[in-house]
Symmetry: C2
């Protein structure tokens, strides 16, 4: 009944953490200064947040821990989307320095279970960060070269986000509790990379029932103040098929 040898050096979780601010989708990355033996300068390297899975953790727990350590937040939308296990995925020489700085056993083959997190970036208080390690929000169109296979992982995450946002009401996870229709539309336009019609978007969102208007409106804006809306998380979860490109009666649109 007991399990002896440890998984630990061989399985990790990595988190692709999306945020949305200033009309831009952003990624939360770890930036490290790694001494370069040749140049005697510090290389600036980036990677996705992640860690090896501990012996008493399951995969979700591990990813949640990574997320919580970084952001201080719990109960965040976090979902497993793909596992990466190429035998040489962490074996490139360029990644050696990073690996040595974070791993007891830098030679171990590691497969990683990748998670996608969606957070309201305004809720995050980034830890101050030491000289050698910092957490930074990077606009998705400015994502630099990342360690290991993390660029591929990020690209898969973005593709998964784009797909899922059209099927499930998850966009709201990236916005504050109260948001305007304009913010919501701009979020969808950013993720889907296309323009949406204001009136049709509004109609569809309202009709779906997943958001409710507040009486409260913006103040201090130099234009007509927008009404605030809230996401009906409970409604959305109890009516999983009454949304978006599913029919209003809850049936699928595919076959009658």
């Amino acid at each position: 009944m007991s399990i002896t040898p440890s998984l630990n050096p061989h399985v990790s979780t990595d988190c692709v953490i999306f945020g949305f601010s200033q009309e831009t989708l952003r990624l939360l990355l770890i930036r490290r200064n790694i001494p370069n033996r040749l140049t005697e300068l510090n290389d600036i390297l980036y990677a996705l947040p992640g860690d090896l899975v501990k012996d008493d953790e399951n995969l979700d727990t591990s990813a949640n821990r990574v997320l919580a350590e970084l952001t201080g937040l719990k109960g965040i939308y976090l979902t497993q989307f793909q596992t990466f296990g190429d035998p040489l995925r962490i074996a490139k020489t360029k990644d050696r320095a990073w690996l040595e700085s974070v791993r007891q056993d830098p030679d171990a083959r590691v497969i990683t279970v990748a998670y996608m997190a969606l957070i309201d970036s305004h809720k995050v208080n980034l830890q101050p960060g030491s000289f050698s390690e910092e957490t930074v929000w990077v606009p998705i169109h400015e994502v630099p070269e990342l360690a290991f296979d993390h660029n591929e992982i990020y690209e898969q995450a973005l593709a998964a986000l784009k797909e899922r946002v059209q099927m499930q009401p998850i966009g709201f996870e990236l916005l504050p509790e109260k948001f305007t229709m304009g913010q919501l539309q701009s979020l969808y336009e950013t993720i889907l990379e296309r323009d949406l019609d204001k009136r049709n978007f509004r109609r569809k969102m309202i009709n779906s029932g997943v958001i409710s208007p507040l009486t409260e409106k913006q103040i201090g804006v130099s234009n007509k103040p927008a009404r605030y809306y809230v996401y009906n998380r409970e409604f959305a979860q109890s009516n999983p098929s009454s949304i978006f490109n599913l029919r209003m009666d809850g049936s699928f649109t595919l076959f009658n």
Copy 2:
């Protein structure tokens, strides 16, 4: 550049292999006779096919190997869908005998990357099978208790199949090259667990462009012979959004 310690006892791939025959969705399972020390009889136990990932394999390769060893088939639709890593997922006493019979290190914690395969079950020649181990097709509504967490894995696979079959043209992978509209509809009805309208189903399938009629028809049936169709794999792959509940012009139905 080289990787020394082995992942091997800690990461496996398991395959949920679906087939469709006699109007029934079926699962390919391993049945083993395991000697029970107490009863001195053999227990009959079932599990999903799977194996530990070898040092030179990536995850897809490993799953493909498992599938090929079992069915002799290559180039099969096989897709990763979820990874399972509970610390105690293989630690139940009931699974101990099986584990000892297949693993060098039965105490090692193992996480498993689960794959879903869709195959034309008529293509499979099941290997004869020894006394102690056999491969069997089991109707999905008669799936017995499986080893480890394999019942959960199977259920997740079925849910994923049900979801994906509505979004992507993957149902065809379960049918022979040539199939009738009736077979196709019956397959969809089985997976979706609801009746579909014959005329609407036909219209949608034809309009989607992913299947083409042949001139060939059934022979020897005691009713009007059905026309055969083939799946246009190339077309479907090059027009990923022109199908099913996506608009015919290729745009999504979600927002205009």
